[in-house]
Assembly symmetry: C2
Homo-oligomer: 339 residues x 2
DNA sequence: TTGAAAGCGCTAACAT
DNA sequence: ATGTTAGCGCTTTCAA
């Protein structure tokens, strides 16, 4: 069996309270300090966090429920958060709910029973009911990437409305009028904002939006491929496509690749996320880029502040801007207004 | 405060042991069962896993130390493992050590203090010293992707030697003789096996290996790009390149893309990992594909068996085969022997 | 500064 | 089948 604080007390002739005090940075006489340190190294003593947790009613564990670990966005944001939190002594319990609301709910319960001190969530269910127990218990909840209206918690998102709007503007300025959109399921806030940005900016440019140019599919690579196929087949006059998610972009690139469509001569393309992927595409893909590191930093920062019992006054709702990273996948068509 | 087992006992007039028994699937009289269930739902009682952990000396948590969460291979394997383990009531504590042996060591300590029941590791440090405390404590350790000689634990790897060998064979059969290799740091078993497979199979094909054709770099995208640049510049007669990791492949594709090298006319290429990425590359990349799902399944299976106190007789060392997924990035050069 | 003792919520003997 | 009780290893009053 592993050594306990009692063993250290016994070996040093001190009381357990003294040892505990030492362990928690309290003041101990130099000679006793030495004795304790000696005993600890001899007995290979390691604090039992479980016992500490039971006593203090804090687990120093944070849960994270995400739609898909195997997604660059989630992984990038999470690894950033994990890094920061661990530096502060917090462990991360990660649950992948595979974009399934039922599994998300189960994960929330699972983590609640384990008494995590707080929770990060890229929500699948847009009602947010699965988070209510946390909120009632006063445990910090930080939503990432997707806001939930009416839920009393912090959130860190990007401005998806402006994100797509900037992409449409880039295209219309280069003379594009028939612009397709690969849209994700409208079940979450981010996806809705992206579609809204598309419609609104077309309207601003005086272009009539055609439903034929909008493909509503799942947020998967295959759906991106299928969507591209359909948009191309039904819209011979389409000159550009915007993919409203990384997976959709990925799928769209595959479709263009397999149909031997030359980008940007035959079709211009704007993707979403992942600058590295954009560089690997031929020709280099123009993308809407999300500040993944910033998202992680802000989310972790808010969580840590809440954990330290920061003022509970009003929740934070952070909206981070995206940027367009220009590649070579967009061309200027005849009759361009700008430039 | 949250309700405890005592509250349930008080409310039902039963003893805590009876309630505990109910909670753990023991036999209780139907009428009492009902009473307990009623009290639980009225009080919103949730078992306190922390207390249970302290008592049973099992946390039902498994640690995972990986070089980089933001890597498709790690994320794919981990998400599979997490899924299986959670179904069995285990939570996953994930630590990203950023391919740094010091951080890996710290993560191992961190997780040990938290008393995880077992640990998965894609090791960075090839001595395996950071895992010794677990082994001494009799906690199951399952190595993934990289074997460590002389460490008494289970492992699930792919046959990296054969993996690269099959790629070289594919190339030599198509007449290639000047074949470059983008190799990863030789600090882990997998990387060493890949390089060994390269040398050995060239030898078998009667081709003299030239050190000029081997680029030893970091396992990063940038290093893949830099490596491609160097190999091309120094070896005008090189007709093919094998990238010995996913990141290297990614970097190599970027280099080819940015230098406007036409694949496979000017240069043939074989990458590593990620069939989806291979499809998105133009022309479709021929790759060495690892069975990520199988790796996850086998690793999780072994862990669960050990956790259930399976026979400790001899550790398992699983070697899974890879496969070549042919794309269009390899051409046949003049004087091909095969076909 | 140090020690004694209570107790966090639960499980597991043991007794009934 | 149910209840009593003794800890699991730690922190935290409260006294000394």
């Amino acid at each position: 069996m592993a050594a306990t604080i009692k063993d250290i007390a016994g070996r040093t002739g001190l009381g357990v309270a003294t040892v505990s005090s030492y362990l928690n940075g309290g003041h101990v006489r130099p000679q006793n300090r030495e004795k304790i340190e000696k005993a600890i190294s001899e007995l290979h003593y390691e604090v039992n966090e479980t016992a500490r947790q039971l006593k203090t009613n804090r687990t120093r564990m944070i849960g994270a429920i995400i739609p898909e670990l195997n997604s660059t966005f989630c992984a990038a944001v999470l690894s950033r958060i994990e890094d920061i939190l661990r530096q502060h002594g917090y462990a991360m319990l990660i649950c992948d709910c595979r974009t399934d609301a039922v599994r998300e709910e189960e994960a929330a319960e699972f983590l609640f029973r384990r008494r995590v001190d707080g929770i990060f969530n890229i929500p699948v269910d847009s009602s947010g009911e699965h988070l209510l127990p946390y909120i009632k218990a006063g445990k910090p909840v930080v939503l990432i990437d997707r806001q939930i209206d009416g839920l009393d918690c912090d959130s860190v998102c990007v401005d998806n409305y402006q994100a797509v709007r900037s992409a449409v503007r880039l295209l219309t300025q280069k003379g594009h009028k028939r612009i397709g959109l690969l849209a994700c399921p409208q079940s979450n806030h981010a996806a809705r904002q992206r579609l809204r940005g598309y419609r609104k900016s077309l309207e601003e440019a005086g272009i009539e939006a055609s439903e034929e140019l909008i493909y509503q599919g799942e947020d998967t690579i295959d759906s991106g491929t299928a969507g591209m196929d359909r948009l191309i087949d039904r819209n011979p006059d389409m000159t550009a496509v915007i993919a409203a998610s990384y997976r959709m972009s990925f799928g769209a690139v595959i479709a263009a690749n397999e149909r031997n469509i030359s980008i940007p001569e035959q079709l211009s393309m704007v993707g979403f996320d992942n600058p590295q992927f954009a560089r690997a595409v031929h020709p280099r893909l123009t993308i809407i880029n999300q500040p993944v590191n910033q998202i992680g930093d802000r989310a972790a920062g808010i969580m840590l502040r809440r954990l330290c019992g920061g003022e509970d006054s009003g929740k934070e709702h952070v909206w981070l801007p995206t940027e367009i990273l220009e590649g070579k996948s967009v061309r200027t068509v005849a009759g361009a207004s700008g430039e």
